[in-house]
């Protein structure tokens, strides 16, 4: 039986084609998490207020709770599941893990996707640029400081530098 209430579409997610039939009013967030079981992308409000659901569409961070899935057809969708390169973590993931920038880890996927796009735009972001760039992602655990430091660390590693985190970042003053 053909269900007229559903859309059958193929998405390009993390470089792979994935077909899916879904109710047409579903958001991209719902389709990713519930229809495709890509639960790495989180939600904190489903109203565009927290940034937990951030994914990249053609390299640009987008709140997947505010985007209809039908609008993502034919676009390059990237989620946290597509960040690591095989078994190797992305430098941002490594830096977040090293500095404890993920406490509960719930805001982390959204922050990683936002930060990745930020570094792609600006490989050497200032602290102010990082603050501005991540301002739409709420985190209740970390106080953001370890996140800023992790983004700086990852950006430096991605520039081919070999930075060591500051002593006071880890051990305090």
């Amino acid at each position: 039986m053909i269900d007229p209430g559903k859309v059958l579409a193929t998405f390009c997610i993390n470089g792979e084609e994935q077909a899916c039939a879904f109710v047409s009013h579903r958001t991209l967030l719902e389709v990713l998490r519930e229809d495709l079981q890509l639960t790495g992308t989180k939600h904190g409000c489903e109203l565009g207020e927290c940034g937990a659901c951030t994914v990249q569409i053609n390299g640009v961070p987008v709140l997947s709770c505010l985007m209809l899935a039908v609008d993502a057809i034919g676009q390059q969708i990237r989620t946290v599941e597509g960040l690591a390169d095989g078994p190797a973590l992305h430098p941002l993931q490594d830096a977040f893990a090293d500095l404890g920038a993920a406490q509960c880890g719930y805001c982390t996927p959204g922050l990683l996707m936002t930060a990745e796009a930020l570094i792609a735009r600006d490989p050497c972001p200032s602290r102010e640029a990082i603050k501005q760039g991540l301002a739409g992602n709420l985190c209740r655990c970390t106080g953001y400081l370890k996140i800023f430091e992790a983004v700086e660390l990852a950006a430096a590693r991605m520039r081919g530098e070999n930075p060591v985190p500051k002593r006071e970042t880890i051990y305090g003053s």
């Binding site: 599941e81 920038a101 970390t142 106080g143």
Partner: protein, 843 residues
């Protein structure tokens, strides 16, 4: 096992052997104190951590709750017939289906999973509906007809005091008073008589909420074998297990399995058993299908259990040099609609004042009121945050009155280490002096305070100081019994894998990793190579839960004991095989070897094989029970802890003297945590506390919309969304200079105390004190919004007292106090005027 039961060898549960004493030197530790990754770090940064809402099961259906639209009303009629007819609906529950009340504390079992006859706040659940899709469940909810008969709404502390009728609950002290406490330690009159200076101040701390990024979710599955499993975002699987067993009776407790998923933040907000969890379980039993519920953000605001709004009055007497002679402290708590942890919260508003500064004579009166708001409960710093604000601001005012340096005055008042306080709390290690010195030096306090420097944009700078202390877990369990608070089991595999089983729940604070660090240190293995199985009531020994900062000390000690027992068994096996005496064996780098000849040894895996060949399958257990408290009076159960953490902060503000708008550019925070088990993780906890404290200080509040509509009062949460409930973003987060102070405590694993609740507390008063330093006005109310600063500035300009805050407390009759002699009066921890208690009845 052929060995003597090692449990007999170290019968004093939780006491570490000499090798792992609290004061072991840093250089002798390989894992503890380093900054290794958390055991679950890779999953967390990969989006692979499975939170409750990430789970699904075949044939799963979705549940929604219809919630009350009335603040206080009797339910006259519930008609679900139209909802039943919605295609896809599989099950409907109403109050009749879940008649047994529950609640976190044995003394306040006052909640129903679905309100049977009365609703007590906008958001109270009335009907649960499960359907094939979430949309269908919502649609069906909208078709339920509920007739309410409105009752008078109680909207504030004052209203609750003034209106004995209608009662929100039919239990409690009287009227709408839930709890009344009145405790007097020492001789207040004598203390005030001996004082050179006496001050009285009134404060208000508005409620605020945890706002975890993860919305609560649960998945329940009643299987065909008659067993129930529930996965849930809970900090307290053990207590959820208890509540389920109670409400779902006659389903036997041992047919119920609670698995707490990693929490996407908790902060105390997921510590109660919740109605949605119980409904999901019951719905699964009704429909025979797995049932999922994920709350909307608005519903998370209704779950609440956050900071109590508290009105406080403090009368304090000091000597000329600022030494505290007497403190008379009053608190009135707005509890919201249910009991929750409220009894404990009430006591906590009076418990810890004495743990930072020596208070010679102390009188505490506290009352908790019921109101028609979302229920309040424990939020980071549980009940101690509001009085800490009052005390630290009042001390600042005293210092100003007496022209003393507020930092020095605090140092002069410090409670001594290894002492008993006026209310019989046992202080152990106490690094507050070091904390104060760190932030005073770091911030340039001595030279920069009181300068009222202008910034380039015309703002005025100010510095404020404040201190605090916090518990490392509650000394008494919620259900009084003689069993341990925390248990750990270890399984040692022939591959060398060590698996740890423990009931504790990782809410982001890193408790899973704490287990691995301690065990890895004792067994000389790589913590990242271990397997952790936690928070599963079927598989793991009980841990009471991730609340009151108890996990590091309590599960830590239990883990230490289990690891030491495993080490003992392995050492015996290895000793026989290597022909090296046990005392000479070292466990390090995943090897067991002769410390005098390191080449002579074996791998850790071979040591397991040697021991298993000799003694059979290897498994050990450890458990922890806190030391007995010296406080024996009624109410003395709240406050005792194995140890107390300390914090001191200096906050810098820049205030616009025209508008009252201010910003916080920099914070210096020092936290005495006994010992940092992991440096980076401890830092993260401290920074997170500073952040959350700033949110409370500057903007966060549970505001209610109070309107009248056609003669009917509308009383509803004003801003139940992440956008409108303001919390600090990256843009508001200041620079933080963190000092980790380590004053090892003998009750902690490797000397560790709590980390991460304590440093929240001094932020709010330090902000208030800094604003005074900058522009000379007092805001005696939290949050300290620019409007309030502005209002105080206007007063000041008009030549009046530059202050914003409440004037008085509504009068409450507290009755006679329990009178307790202080330790220095020769008191024994009992109240001399307490009527004899029937011990059995008390339980």
């Amino acid at each position: 096992m052929v060995l003597d039961d090692p449990r007999l060898a170290d019968a004093a549960a939780g006491q570490a052997s000499a090798k792992w004493r609290h004061d072991v030197k840093k250089e002798d530790l390989r894992v503890i104190g380093t900054a290794i990754r958390k055991v679950d770090a890779r999953s967390k940064v990969s989006g692979l951590t499975r939170f409750a809402d990430d789970l699904s099961l075949p044939r799963m259906i979705y549940m929604k709750l219809l919630r009350s639209t009335q603040a206080h009303a009797r339910i006259k009629r519930v008609d679900v017939s139209k909802a039943k007819a919605v295609p896809g609906v599989k099950g409907i529950l109403t109050g009749e289906d879940l008649p047994t009340p529950f609640g976190i504390l044995p003394v306040s079992q006052d909640e129903h999973a679905l309100c049977p006859d009365k609703v007590r706040f906008v958001g109270d659940p009335v009907v649960a509906i499960a359907a094939l899709t979430e949309d269908a469940a919502w649609d069906a909810c909208r078709l339920v007809e509920v007739d309410y008969e409105p009752l008078h709404t109680i909207g504030s502390i004052k209203e609750a005091v003034e209106h004995e009728e209608p009662r929100i609950h039919d239990y409690g002290v009287r009227g709408n008073i839930h709890r009344l406490e009145n405790l007097e330690f020492g001789d207040l009159a004598a203390g005030f008589a001996a004082s050179d200076h006496i001050r009285e101040d009134t404060f208000f701390f508005e409620g605020n909420t945890h706002l975890p990024m993860e919305q609560h979710a649960s998945l329940a599955h009643f299987d065909k074998d008659g067993k129930l499993t529930i996965w849930s975002s809970t900090q307290t699987p053990h207590y959820l297990h208890k509540a389920l067993a109670r409400v779902l009776h006659p389903l036997p407790a041992h047919h119920i399995r609670v698995i707490a998923c990693p929490n996407g933040g908790g902060f105390g907000g997921k510590s109660d058993p919740f109605n949605h969890e119980i409904c999901a379980a019951k719905m699964s039993m009704l429909t025979g299908r797995p049932v999922k519920i994920s709350l909307t953000r608005e519903e998370v605001f209704f779950c609440h259990r956050g900071r109590h709004p508290v009105l406080m009055h403090a009368r304090i007497g000091v000597s000329k040099t600022g030494r505290i002679k007497a403190l008379d402290f009053h608190s009135l708590l707005d509890g919201g609609a249910y009991g929750s942890y409220g009894t404990a919260s009430t006591f906590y508003t009076g418990a810890l004042q004495t743990v930072t500064y020596a208070v010679e004579n102390y009188h505490f009166r506290g009352a908790r009121l019921f109101t028609n708001k979302a229920p309040c409960g424990p939020k980071r710093g549980h009940g101690t945050v509001q009085p800490r604000f009052a005390l630290e601001v009042q001390l600042d005012k005293i210092a100003c009155d007496l022209k003393l340096d507020p930092a020095q005055m605090r140092i002069d008042n410090l409670a001594p280490r290894d002492s008993l306080t006026a209310n019989f709390l046992q202080i152990g290690s106490m690094g507050l002096m070091q904390c104060i010195n760190k932030v005073v030096d770091g911030s340039g306090w001595k030279t920069r305070r009181g300068l009222q420097e202008r910034t380039a944009d015309g703002r005025i700078r100010g510095l404020g100081i404040a201190c605090s202390s916090y518990l490392s877990g509650a000394g008494l369990p919620i259900y009084w019994n003689g069993m341990p608070h925390s248990g750990v089991q270890l399984k040692l595999d022939r591959s060398g894998l060590v698996t740890v089983f423990c009931g504790s729940t990782d809410i982001g604070q890193g408790s899973d990793s704490v287990l691995t660090w301690i065990i890895a240190e004792v067994l000389g293995i790589d913590p990242l190579g271990m397997r952790v199985v936690t928070s599963d009531t079927d598989l793991t020994p009980v841990d009471l839960g991730s609340y009151s900062s108890r996990v590091t000390v309590m599960t830590g000690n239990a883990a230490m004991q289990a690891a030491e027992r495993a080490r003992e068994i392995l050492a015996k096996g290895a000793s026989e095989q290597l022909q090296v005496p046990v005392a000479r064996l070292t466990f390090a780098d995943a090897r067991v070897f002769d410390s005098e000849n390191p080449d002579k040894g074996m791998s850790f895996a071979d040591a397991v094989i040697a021991a298993e060949s000799r003694f059979g399958t290897i498994g050990t257990v450890g458990s922890y029970t806190p030391p007995k408290s010296a406080a024996k009076f009624r109410g003395g159960g709240v406050g005792p802890s194995p140890s107390y953490s300390y914090s001191a902060t200096v906050v810098e503000v820049e205030v616009d003297p025209e508008t009252g708008i201010y910003r916080v550019p920099k914070v210096w925070m020092a936290h005495d945590i006994g010992r940092a088990l992991n440096a980076a993780v401890a830092m993260g906890q401290i920074e997170g506390s500073v952040y959350m404290g700033l949110g409370e200080a500057m903007m966060e509040e549970m505001a209610y919309r109070d309107r009248s509509h056609k003669g009917h009062r509308i009383f509803v949460h004003k801003i139940p969304s992440l956008l409108e409930y303001k919390s600090p973003s990256t843009m508001e987060m200041p620079e933080v200079v963190t000092y980790v102070v380590e004053d090892p405590d003998k009750n902690g694993p490797f000397g560790a105390k709590e980390v991460g609740q304590g440093p929240l507390l001094p932020i709010m008063p330090a902000v208030a004190n800094a604003i005074f330093d900058a522009v000379g006005v007092r805001v005696d109310e939290v949050p300290i919004t620019p409007e309030k600063v502005f209002a105080a500035l206007v007063q000041k300009r008009a030549g009046k007292v530059g202050r914003y805050g409440p004037d008085e407390l509504p009068p409450v009759n507290f009755g006679d106090s329990l009178k307790i002699k202080t330790p220095w009066q020769g008191g024994d921890g009992t109240a001399w005027n307490e009527p004899k208690r029937d011990k059995k009845a008390a339980r």
